[in-house]
Symmetry: C2
Subunit: 252 residues, 2 copies
DNA sequence: CAGTGGTCTAGACCACTTA
DNA sequence: AAGTGGTCTAGACCACTGA
């Protein structure tokens, strides 16, 4: 049989473009490529079809395909080099890092995370809380304190402060998360700034979390804002360091 | 005097576009706006000139200006809404979590960091290290262990492993950071995945860092890769939690 | 309703990589 | 020299917001 020697077979990913869909075309492309990478159809190091060919094959313009590629670069899924092409980023990286099994593993064990609401109170905000939330002094502030379990194990104590006028329902907190509750009220988070640190647990925290006093905790302080630029929420969370860590991919 | 009643004065940011520069036009725009935001000329909540007007004023196309705006959105500096406009995000934003070495961070803050190299050795890699670096078994691996000081205080213990064939000079490590040393050899980092966690210090770590055993430490594990998709470095760093935290801005 | 950002097109020229 | 991504242009139409 006529086999070309060592010819590189370019994997043509099956991408279906639906112009009637609400999903933008560039997102349809990047989603399809994400799936191909996640499923292993495109393995780390594999060459991705170049944007000119892909545009021609799908009947789209190059900027549209390019936008999809940029999404993937930003997610850390592929790397690109002028003159050289686009390749799938090494993702065995994450498997290696995952040696220290964590919350993901607890979740993967099939036991859904649950939440107990420790506190749900609306009161006149302190100078500090209204300052952070960018509210007038003495405005109403909702304070929520929750204990989060995963796999039956206590995992985190989460304290959140929100402007009282966008307070979600108490009942919703137990079933969905805080952000899902806000979304149901038409409030979406556009972005946030956060700070990750560490300290040791107080006696009260240790008791709630089933740790000893002095156990290491990961701390997260976050301020989230809507696309209108309004501050929606201030969160202060503490996680058992033995069970939780933060994974992220960064670029450039 | 003739004062218009509550008229919104749109601040026209002074942007000089240099078409002969190597810096891309969109980056010149985003840099100018970043500066305006950082300096306080554009305050949180302030309206940013819309992209059509800005393009006309600067004599550029809309996509070019748009690209600059997208950079700012991704950095968490502004929020945009269709029909409403672009506003500067609430600036509880501090130092971004950038892919730079700690040395660069401290340098930017004006503190004088110093480094002591505790170990600099090239040896046959263990199964674990060659696995993480995606090298053939028994390949040469450079291990660097450094103690970093800031303001005379010990701050972090940094352990890094690199393929031996891209080992930077021992002498360069003391003066520049690790990434700067690699950059001088023509090796640039395209991206990385990392995990942030916490634990308590061992006796040995506590002694090096001037803490007591049991003091909380922030841990960072990172795998960095080049734009060619090659794994460049594996780093395991521990920071005194009392002196260090990670800031970042996230979007969507 | 006018203003604004979100999406998309069909090209163009350049810089870099690889062979 | 050929292939690839990086940048840029000059338009177009649509969806959403706000007065």
């Amino acid at each position: 049989m006529c086999e070309s020697d060592q010819e590189v077979v370019l994997t043509e990913i099956d991408i279906v473009v639906d112009r009637t869909s609400d999903v933008p075309l560039h997102q349809q492309i990047s989603n399809a490529l994400r799936t191909a990478i996640a499923s292993g159809q495109l393995r780390p190091g594999a060459r991705v079809e170049n944007e000119i060919d892909l545009a021609a094959r799908l009947g789209l313009s190059r900027p549209t395909v390019r936008r999809a590629m940029e999404d993937l670069v930003h997610s850390g899924l592929v790397t690109r080099r002028r003159g050289s092409g686009t390749v799938v980023a090494p993702s065995q990286v994450r498997r290696q890092l995952k040696l220290t099994s964590l919350f993901d593993d607890l979740e993967a064990e099939g036991r859904r995370p649950t939440t107990t609401v420790l506190e749900f109170s609306i009161a006149v905000g302190t100078a500090e809380s209204t300052g952070i939330l960018d509210l007038a002094p003495k405005s109403g502030v909702l304070t929520i304190r929750r204990l989060r379990f995963a796999g039956g194990e206590p995992l985190a104590i989460m304290t959140n402060e929100l402007p009282a006028d966008i307070a979600p329902d108490y009942s919703a907190l137990g079933t969905c998360g805080l952000y899902a509750s806000l979304r149901e009220k038409g409030i979406t988070i556009a972005g946030a700034t956060q700070r990750i640190g560490a300290r040791v647990a107080t006696h009260a925290e240790a008791e709630l979390l089933g740790e000893k006093a002095g156990a290491p905790l990961l701390t997260l302080d976050r301020v989230a804002y809507s696309d209108a630029g309004r501050i929606i929420e201030h969160g202060h969370h503490v996680y058992r360091a033995s069970l939780y860590s933060f994974d992220m991919s960064i670029r450039q």
